[in-house]
């Protein structure tokens, strides 16, 4: 990430959002809304003196990067490896931004005068030849499944939250502790939360088995707790993955095959008092079990981003049944989309793990470079053509074309199709009152011939339909 930030040929626009896209392969014009961070990026060196100098002496706001488990100040570095290494101000939290009545001790602490409370949103227009969409995924919201008690019982965590707890740069500096500060003695990991489930997402999120195993290993290593995994199937394809699973089996991590019915605090046995009870069927021995634990980790699945539909329509790409962006072909063209010059990388196209994402992203970058270096593109011959003799200059087609591919030639008094812009939908051919427009390969004659051919009576008396 740092390398990308430093590369002379890469311009990073962070904290920004694409507002609109126009043009076509090789000639895209992208409008980007650069949101204000209230810091002059070119001056800030990430020394964090402003954070120390902030009027708030203690960090008191939920830190998004720590999944709300840690706290941050209104001026903060999003996370330790953030690229660029530049702080930002949260306008919803900062006293100066909200009331204008702060002592502005952060600005006083900054010796490079990088803080600018007046910064406004900027609109940047960039000309690009190709676009790679790498918008990632959204973690499944575990509170959608109330029977697992997320949000109700404080010691039910998601995998990502426990990942922060196990991290040395996390809110507990790597200590796996419960909300009351004690170490868990027993931990349950529930697999397939929001995956392989008719009620939520039918697909397998692919990464959860492996991250569950990793968390099981880390939690056991950090706390010595008894760890139970509740799984439907263990899916460990990938280099060295099955070996890692074998290692956990030998470490004494328990694996129970069965989907968990419920997480409850309703104790019916003395050893369940004050604990969370997992109710699940162990399908391998055919009994229903109640297992009391201190901590529950929900292995939440991967979902498309909430704004995937609007992003898809903005870039003119489609989505598959699961909501992720659709590739041009599931096996042979997994990186391209159906729109020329728009490529996909990573979980935006579907759930995948880090090695697969790196490979996918590398493929997208290579395809982009190959496209741009060639300097020319092959376009489909399926485009519309105007018959100059028939065109009556009514201009109906101009307004109907979704790509503004038809322009009016005032000198010749005819409409003209730009072959590079035309995508060949044929809407203009259907609308042309003078029948002057032909949709090549889908002309009126060709379609009528198909209708006639399909409905021709069979020659032989008892012959099958043609």
């Amino acid at each position: 990430m740092m390398d990308a930030g430093r590369h002379p040929n890469i311009t990073l626009l962070t904290n920004s959002e694409v507002a609109s896209v126009s043009g076509y392969v090789g000639n895209y014009k992208v409008t980007v809304r650069k949101k204000p961070r209230y810091i002059k990026e070119e001056l800030c060196v990430g020394c964090l003196q402003c954070v120390d100098g902030c009027t708030y002496k203690e960090a008191k706001f939920a830190d998004e990067f720590q999944m709300g488990l840690g706290k941050r100040k209104p001026i903060y570095l999003p996370f330790p490896q953030a690229t660029p290494q530049v702080v930002l101000i949260d306008p919803e939290r900062c006293i100066q931004m909200k009331t204008g009545k702060c002592k502005k001790t952060c600005a006083a602490a900054c010796d490079r005068n990088a803080i600018d409370f007046e910064q406004k949103e900027e609109t940047v227009e960039v000309d690009v030849g190709a676009i790679i969409i790498a918008t990632g995924f959204k973690p499944f919201d575990a509170s959608r499944l109330p029977y697992y008690g997320y949000g109700k019982y404080p010691n039910v965590y998601t995998g990502l939250e426990v990942e922060r707890l196990t991290s040395a740069s996390g809110p507990t500096a790597g200590e796996v502790i419960l909300r009351d500060g004690t170490r868990p003695k027993s931990v349950a990991i529930i697999h397939c939360v929001g995956s392989r489930d008719e009620k939520t997402n039918r697909y397998c999120s692919r990464v959860c088995c492996m991250y569950s195993l990793k968390l099981a290993h880390m939690v056991k290593d950090h706390t010595g707790a008894q760890v139970y995994n509740f799984y439907i199937d263990m899916r460990t394809p990938g280099k060295s993955y099955e070996e890692f699973y074998d290692k956990l089996l030998s470490e004494g991590v328990r694996f129970i095959r069965g989907r968990v019915a419920e997480v409850t605090d309703w104790a019916i046995r003395p050893e369940e008092e004050g604990k969370l009870v997992i109710r699940a069927e162990d399908t391998l021995i055919g009994v229903v079990r109640r297992i009391p634990v201190d901590m529950v980790i929900l292995s939440t699945g991967l979902e498309p981003q909430a704004d995937a539909a609007s992003v898809a329509s903005m870039f003119g790409i489609s989505r598959s049944a699961d909501g992720f962006f659709a590739e041009a072909h599931p096996k042979l063209r997994p990186v391209e989309t159906n729109t020329d010059g728009v490529y996909l990388a990573g979980c935006a196209q579907g759930p995948r793990d880090v090695p697969d994402t790196v490979a996918h992203a590398g493929a997208a970058a290579s395809m982009t470079i190959a496209l741009l270096n060639r300097g020319q593109v092959t376009i489909s011959p399926t485009v519309a053509a105007v018959d100059e003799k028939l065109c009556s200059a009514c201009k109906t087609c101009l307004s109907i074309c979704p790509y503004q591919a038809i322009v009016f030639n005032a000198d010749k008094n005819i409409a003209v199709v730009n072959d590079a812009l035309c995508k060949g939908c044929g809407t203009c051919a259907a609308a042309c009152p003078a029948a002057a427009i032909t949709a090549r390969h889908f002309s009126d004659e060709q379609i009528v011939a198909q209708i006639e051919g399909l409905l021709r009576e069979p020659k032989t008396a008892e012959g099958a339909r043609p």
């Binding site: 329509s313 489609s318 979704p402 995508k423 939908c425 044929g426 809407t427 409905l455």
Partner: protein
């Protein structure tokens, strides 16, 4: 002799044609009465094509493309279909063609089972209406 309806389906390349293709690949059960003509977009479908299909002897016609809004591969081709087809329906009823013989709607590329279901139910619906015989009627009028 059993009446086997002839049905012509105009499907857009990106959504319903893909669904029909997927339904075939997945070996979903569907009647052989439906013959598909692929177009790049439902926006390409001139109302004349539908009339032509009836005039050539079709007993039923299907027009299907991408779900509006937003699903259209060509941004808004399906919107044009959305505007044209209700008008065409009125023309068809004025010609005396029953409502049940013409279906227009939306099936996305991911809805193969929905396509197979439509092919089955529409075929049965047209079978229930019986032969249209428009071709013969037109021929007799020409005489």
């Amino acid at each position: 002799m059993n009446f086997e309806p002839k049905i012509i389906a105009f499907l857009c390349n990106w959504c319903t044609y893909t669904a029909a293709d997927a339904a075939g690949v997945a070996r979903m059960e569907q009647p052989a009465n439906v013959d598909v003509i692929r177009v790049m977009c439902t926006g390409r479908i001139e109302p004349m094509f539908v009339l032509k299909a009836f005039a050539e002897g079709a007993d039923g016609v299907i027009v299907s493309g991408c779900h509006p809004p937003g699903d259209c591969h060509y941004t808004n081709g399906n919107f044009k279909t959305f505007r044209r087809m209700p008008l065409l329906e009125r023309v068809l009823s004025q010609f005396g063609i029953e409502d049940g013989r013409f279906h227009w709607g939306w099936i996305s590329g991911a809805e193969a089972p929905k396509w197979a279901e439509l092919a089955r139910t529409f075929t049965e619906q047209v079978r229930g209406l019986g032969p249209l015989n428009w071709k013969d009627q037109l021929a007799s009028k020409e005489d």
